[in-house]
Symmetry: C6
Subunit: 76 residues, 6 copies
């Protein structure tokens, strides 16, 4: 991953911050399983496994804490 | 998800903050499994699986930390 | 849930804060499984499943972080 | 639990703070499974289940974050 | 591990911070299972287990919170 | 555990902080399963279970947040 994919944690709105958190959660999977082909195959399974959907949502929530703090909760 | 569904993290009361945290937890599932039809089918299963209910409650708790901090814990 | 059940995160003591955290963890389950009858039936099972008891304790711990911060750790 | 079991989050040392975190993790189980007899019976099982031992350690870690912050990390 | 592998939490960019978080998550496995040979063998299994990929992503997210805070969210 | 094993959260470097976090994660297991003999026997099993290795890494990450904050992220 030589290209720049995370230049900043700043986003214009909370919603864009949530989208960034989702991206970070996915990158966290990608660094462990770099094969896009294999991830696509695996995705078919976990998309129908609610325990894993909830676990994914938890990872997003953890990243959203970071992104929200980085943006001072979009208070300004 | 082109529409705006998260304009702000501010809520009038802690209770509304908890409701927002619940919404964020659900959106976190939705971004991974976008099919409403499939989510409804899956919901029937996990609503009776206490381990998954507790895990869902954990995701809400994580988001509630963020929302509460964003609102300065509704101290003002 | 039209009634007010969370007017404030302030509590008089750490112990009352812990009780509030416990309540929030339970509400987090309730919003996903609103049927009291079904929750009572499910409760019989997970009360004897230590993995789920530990997971419940984890959710309480997460909410207790929020409640403790909201009360400035009852330092004042 | 009418008696006072958590008058303060202040402890003299980090080690006592860790002990308090351990106590909070156990109370978190106790509020869901109040029967001491049943908890003792269940304990025999999970004490030999490493996944549950690790999960217990995680709950302690979460509470230790709270207790450490409450004590300003015992820096003073 | 006598050599220095973590001289600082400072990184130039958020992306490098994410890479450091990934490294910390891996070191966390390494301290429990020091055998590189065995870890390689085990890796073959968990790389195709989505639940474990998501759990790994969660650990990275937790470390990323720490690294991001250490860098003041790269705001400066 | 009458002896002092945690006099301070201060460490000279981030790396020593990570080692302290690892120690805290292990103590968290030890307080629940005090038998060293039994822990050694159990260790043989979980050292080859990647899900448990990842879970251990997560506990370390949680403690590392605390230790890093206590050391002001070794910024000084």
């Amino acid at each position: 991953m030589a290209e720049t994919w995370l230049p900043t944690l700043k986003t214009a709105t909370p919603q864009e911050g949530f989208e960034l958190a989702t991206k970070l959660a996915r990158i966290g999977v990608k660094v462990t399983q770099p094969s896009a082909e294999l991830r696509d195959k695996l995705r078919a399974a976990y998309e129908q496994d609610t325990a894993q959907l909830i676990a994914s949502s938890h990872v997003i929530a953890t990243h959203f804490q970071t992104v929200a703090a980085a943006n001072n909760y979009w208070r300004d």
